[in-house]
Amino acid sequence: MDFLFSILVEPWITILTGPLFFGEVVIGGILSGVMYSLVALGFVLIYKASGVFNFAQGVMVLFAALSLVGLMERGVPLLLAVVLTGLIMLALAFVIERVILRHMVNQEQIILFMATIGLTYFLEGFGETLWGSDVKALDIGIPDLPLNVKGVTIPNPLVVTAFAGATLASLAILLMWRVRAARRAAEEGDGAAAVPVGPFGLIVAVLGLGLFLARFAFGPDAAFIQGKPSKTAAFLASLSWAGLAVALAVALDAAAIWLGRRQAQRDAGTLAPPLHYAWFLALGLAGTLAAAAGVLWAARSGILINSFELFAAAMAASLVIVLALFFQKTRVGRALRAVADDHAAALSVGISLRGIWVIVWAVAGLVALAAGIIWGGKSGVQFSLSLIALKALPVLILGGFTSVPGAIVGGLIIGVGEKVAEVYWGPAIGGAIENWFAYMLALVFLLVRPQGLFGEKIIERV
């Protein structure tokens, strides 16, 4: 009973009674989630363009960081070293295509996956033979110190606005996604997917609403106003708010699906315009707003934010924007998208698959370099850097193997979920749950949605 209490009730009470600390934990989670996203991004790029599940992405991060540090140790200035390492990653992509991929066209995915495991071993040995295997510090000139912004007075409305903006932007993204999905479903004539509220949703909504209303039935909960809240009261209160949130979510979802169906009915026969670009913009906007809100809130409440992590988040955000522009606005980017859609069709319009593979591995290498700079700068350059690949895997299945926004959103969810679980639930069940929590979260999620959050719908034909 005590154990159940410490798992089911106590964490919620801690969260409710210490919202500031909770905010700090969430921000920390977002920042580490950004770093997971960066690694997951490399996976997604390669998987989309070549169908290779590239396990070597983690060791590519290690290799990039090792090369960078190695060059800097030999007296190369930071910026030049970054450029040189970028060139090394390009060369690496070229060699990989020449030596491995070229010979493995048309092999089964699992064989290619195994080849990348071989590549993992090879690169690990190669990098450490070349640059040595001792732990190295990577100094990129950003102090890894708490950035104390306490004392700066910021007008209250601004904080509220920033927060509301971030929340609305995220909601808008979610809604947009649902609208699009519903519209596509309606266009494809998938009746079941275009029903605004299924029986399951209805039950959930009614239950949620019931939970919320129940607290009024049992009298107003004065638990939070008069002195110390009793644990049970706090738990019930949080439960009822959660109920309201769930009911609202179902209602919003239904609205989105209804909207999507209307759209589809209105312009029946025309294809949905590509929303990718808007997607990235909205994501970037939301991210920026969220970051701004976080900083401002931190400034108000005296939370310590790490300047290095802030830098990492900014770097990741700009990387995502650059990648989005590259994919949407350049010729090569268009070719990449074409290959991702359909290899054979891309070949038939004269796109060179091999060239594309080199490019996509090179891009993944550069993403690995960025991740290497951030992770290496944070925790030193050492072998364990290659293990973050294992952290990126649940991010991948959560977001979907083929979705760039999925990698980012998945990374954030995993980052936050992991931190919150470790801080609030960890002590009750023995700690160090970071290792597997992300996998369990992803697993539970997959049972509901097997293709991940943003993955393409799995259509099976016999």
Binding site: F53, V99, I100, H103, M104, Q107, E108, Q109, I110, I111, F113, M114, A115, I117, G118, L119, T120, Y121, F122, L123, E124, G125, F126, E128, T129, S133, L390, L393, P394, L396, I397, F401, I429, G430, G431, A432, I433, N435, W436, Y439, M440, A442, L443, L446, L447, P450, Q451, G452, E460, V462
Partner: protein, 375 residues
Amino acid sequence: MLYREAGQFKSTYAADQAIFPIAQDRWLVAALLVAAYLVPPLFLGSYWFNAILIPFLIFSMAALGLNILVGYCGQISLGTGGFMAVGAYASYKLTTVFFPDLGMIFIFLLSGLVAAAVGVLFGLPSLRIKGFYLAVATLAAQFFLTWLFNKVPWFFNYNSNGTIESPPRTLFGSIMEPGGALEALVFLNPLVTSPRASPEAKYLFALTLVVVFALIAKNLVRGRIGRSWMAIRDMDIAAELIGIRPMRTKLLAFAVSSFYCGVAGAMLLNLYLNSVETQAFAINVSFDVLFMVIIGGLASILGSFLGAGFIVLMPIFLTNFLPAVGLPVDTATQRHIELMLFGGLMIFFLIVEPHGFARLWQIGKEKLRLWPYPH
């Protein structure tokens, strides 16, 4: 010339369905078995047993199990290390707490059953998801199980260092020891676990287990069950349409596979390492076993052995090979060069023969049939 099947006529169904329909194969396998039972105990030293033969047998067992799941049923699993850990920790708890009198052979089977139950539990997601999504989902088993065995002191009997040690136990247990019901058979009951047991006894025990379970696996996969696994692997919807229940079939594959992995884990603890931490079942074990299955040959019993041999022997070979060539390098660099060679060889063999050593052997047999004539 030697490998010629002309003149071998099959006149019964039983002969046609034999595991080795060709006489030469039968002789070769019989000779190999005799050699495996006689040569090492008579001629080889304990280094051979402890560093090469026993690990080879253990990983053959694990590879057999994983091959059933990945090769025959088509469900990619990266949780092998976790299931092996279940087997090892189950055998530890069973020998020390629950059945201290029971012989190791029963303990191993029970450990396998425990692992099978856990395997079914973690196989449940396979009903919803497949491919790499499933592979990553099985990593949950890997990380959760090793964390569990590391964190919950009940699993290592609350000892201070968190390692589990194999206690000295005999093959059949107290029933054949002095005072037991079958006291007269005590000569059949050697000590097989703990460092005190002779490596020969451990080796023969492991060998027998592997031979028996390989035979069982071979018969499983060529029977009704194996065919339903393969049907699920090739296309699960089509298999469902012809009346194969995907849930039962997939979960059975997970159960059988985890059983083999669990026995392998129990063997790893009791016959090889004698004391382990969860570190011995880390994620790279899962990858190694998966690689054994793939380099050996998916859906091939022989391939499991070839792959296990390759992965177990290659590092030993490289460790001895590099100094022999006379490269004057320190140990750290040597380890890195070994890694590079290992990775490079993995890629090389995948490029040369993506269907594994089993396919190479098949091609070799085709060639041998004609040799020395060109047609």
